[in-house]
């Protein structure tokens, strides 16, 4: 039983949820970019805000799902291992995704 402020499963779940949000958003944007064709300005306006809202919403949903699964399924020892690698996981996930989102606006 974990004590308050010492819950490795919860912190692993939050870490994985945060990284899933970043990965999911990036994957969705890159997919949209690969299948996109140039649009006239009026079409950009008409469809304007929907893709972004969808991307964020789906990313949050994916993050919550992964977090919940991680919290429910990860054994404490595995969770500790995940959290211990937290800084590296964040670096290796967020950096390439952020670069991708600047290169592919």
């Amino acid at each position: 039983m974990s004590r308050p402020g010492q819950d490795p499963r919860a912190s692993a779940a939050l870490l994985l949820a945060g990284l899933t949000l970043v990965l999911s958003y990036t994957a969705q944007r890159l997919y949209a970019w690969t299948i996109s064709v140039p649009s006239p300005p009026t079409e950009i306006l008409a469809a304007a805000h929907i893709p972004y809202f969808w991307r964020v919403g789906l990313s949050v949903l994916h993050a919550v799902l992964v977090g919940a699964l991680a919290h429910g399924l990860l054994e404490p020892s595995r969770a500790v291992a995940v959290v211990d690698r937290g800084p590296w996981l964040v670096l290796l996930t967020v950096l390439p995704c952020a670069v991708a989102m600047v290169v592919v606006p």
Partner: protein, 149 residues
């Protein structure tokens, strides 16, 4: 108040709150590395920073359709690359808020352990860096979209 003035008001609130959130978030980013243990104010500033970034994200969400209809369309029609900078700003803003919230919550659930604090620090630092780039892009886009004259 005209729609344009309302947009400008909310846009400025959005930008100012976001920069304030970044400034507040810098506190836990620094103290999690320089102080042993988890101080109460480190946790509070992480929470406050995440909240101060969440609110302007919501404000940005609210004015997003108006931005798309007016400033962005004009930038796109003029061939100004600033509209592309805004796209990157959107993406990084989502990363910033997600990582800031996750990092702040991690301090609550596992902040008593060094591993939890390290993981939270990594997420908060990543959020801060993404947020700083977002802020720079936002200022540049705002300057191009609404020049003084």
């Amino acid at each position: 108040m005209s729609p344009g003035q309302l947009f400008a008001l909310v846009e400025r609130l959005h930008g100012h709150l976001a920069v304030l959130g970044l400034a507040v978030l810098l506190h836990p980013v620094i103290t999690l590395r320089t102080r042993p243990g988890l101080a109460l104010w480190t946790r509070r500033t992480a929470d406050l920073g995440a909240l101060l970034l969440l609110v302007p994200f919501g404000l940005g969400w609210w004015i997003y359709p108006a931005y798309r209809a007016e400033p962005k369309l004009r930038l796109y029609a003029l061939g100004d690359p600033a509209w592309l900078w805004f796209e990157s700003k959107e993406h990084l803003a989502a990363f910033t808020v997600g990582l800031a919230v996750a990092g702040a919550l991690t301090l609550h659930v596992d902040g008593r352990t060094s591993r939890g604090r390290r993981a939270a620090w990594a997420m908060l630092l990543a959020a801060w860096i993404c947020g700083a780039i977002t802020a720079v892009l936002g200022v540049l886009v705002a300057a191009r979209a609404t020049p003084a004259w």
